[in-house]
Amino acid sequence: MIDLVIIPLFKIAVVLNGVLVSVTFMVLLERKVIAWAQSRLGPMRVGPWGVLQAIVDPIKLILKEDITPTKADKWMFTLAPILSLVPALVVFSVVPFGGDALFYITDINVGLLFIISVTSIGVYGIILAGWASNSKYPLLASLRAAAQLISYEIAVTMTLVSVILTAGTLSMVGIVEAQQETGFWFGFVQPVAFVLVFIGGLAETNRIPFDLPEAEQELTGGFHTEYSGMRFALFFLAEYANMIVIAAVVTALFWGGWLRPFPSVDALFPSVGALSFLNLAFLDLIPSWVWFFGKMFVFLYLFIWIRATLPRYRYDQLMRIGWKVLIPIALANIVVTAVVKVWLL
């Protein structure tokens, strides 16, 4: 009873709250980092250096009036934000935040496929939001978003196949353990796959430079133009939760998950032992989840950094990158990985 019900429920509660709280602070971090990149100060009024802005923003969103357009499809209009947030949160059930069974909710033998398939459900939220609003711009934006998500999902899924080939398992914990056994993080074994998944992740979370579904200048805000108050906040939450998902998946698949860095300094220079004087065992003292969150933070920061730096692609450029660049490279990567795996190892 305790093992099957209470402990999982407790873990789920902790993870959900952790995700939602970190989303609010992600928004603050994003505003701050972009402000620094543009020589501004960012939010400064609420609390010291504007830290409490993270708490005030959600309160503002909850208190705002919740409007449903008269011509909207009421049911779908309510369902859409829920449909986009729930898959983003469900994915966290198989993310391994640490090496011990205490630090992940569950580990299933099709973990990675589970993540891919659940995130593919999220596109319904976006399509339905645009359709149910019964308004031009949201509809256009949702069509763009759906086309973009489907195109980049194919590229990302194909790329992940090569990671699965390298690891020999679909379980998220198993993939991290495979990196421990080989001694090399898959980011070094599969650099091309890492870049592809990261670019695909940017596109799937509708971030700059792929934020065409939300292009303010052309679409007045995108598929959630007609939303206000808490329902708008759900879309917001979903987008940032998806960013955290991408960061977590990239961390687990390519950068060793909860493993400490430099697992194989001696393996790099076996004959010389040049670095053996560097005793890195003290790194083991740091708990595994700290490494995981540290690595995740790097990628979340990278997301924000890219947003502050790059301009937006045109729509034809976006589709060309997805179909004519990413997918062929992903296919080639699968072939190369399979050949190396079968004949050279």
């Binding site: 779908m76 099709v110 589970f114 398939s117 319904y124 399509i127 339905l128 999902e153």
Partner: protein
């Protein structure tokens, strides 16, 4: 016991959702009922301990194919009923005949599968040298069922080429 209850609940849900798919006047709602239907089928796979199939069901059907349905439904204006639906009785005989044929086929499958030993795939899966869902499916696909597997992939390739030829008349 629990599995039986879950199975019958899900079966009732699937049937109900299937009826909803064909009776809902709004096409977008109908497509969404179809998604829910596919998700319930995925849960049945989980109950049968076929996690791989369940996840693929969600990924391919709910996450891929139905999204394209929804795309088409949203792009084509279906607010007005198509002409063929004006006379509801016109196609009902053909429909009845088709439904009867499907029912017969399903009944045949049920009788056939009860009348003999565990079917070939089940026996083969039990005998395969690998453990685990994904591994067993992969093993069977690349040993006993290699030719059907390759034929299916060629079929998909043909469909893809056909779609490209239809879309781009002059290449």
């Amino acid at each position: 016991m629990v599995e039986t209850i879950v199975f019958y609940t899900l079966s009732a849900l699937i049937l109900g959702l299937g009826v909803a798919v064909i009776t809902t006047p709004n096409t977008v709602h109908s497509v969404l009922f179809l998604v829910m239907n596919f998700l319930c089928v995925a849960v049945i796979y989980v109950v049968l301990e076929a996690e791989f199939l369940a996840v693929i069901q969600v990924l391919v059907y709910a996450g891929g194919i139905v999204v394209l349905y929804l795309f088409v439904v949203m792009l084509v204006n279906l607010k007005r009923d198509p002409e063929a639906h004006q006379d509801p009785r016109r196609l009902s005989l053909v429909g009845l005949a088709l439904a009867g044929a499907v029912l017969l086929e399903l009944a045949g499958i049920v009788v056939y599968s009860y009348s003999r030993e565990p079917s070939a795939p089940v026996a083969a899966a039990a005998a395969s040298p690998v453990q685990g869902n994904v591994e067993q499916i992969g093993w069977l696909l690349y040993t006993d069922y290699l030719i059907p597997f390759e034929v299916a992939s060629v079929l998909l390739l043909v469909a893809m080429v056909g779609a490209i030829v239809l879309a781009k008349r002059e290449l």
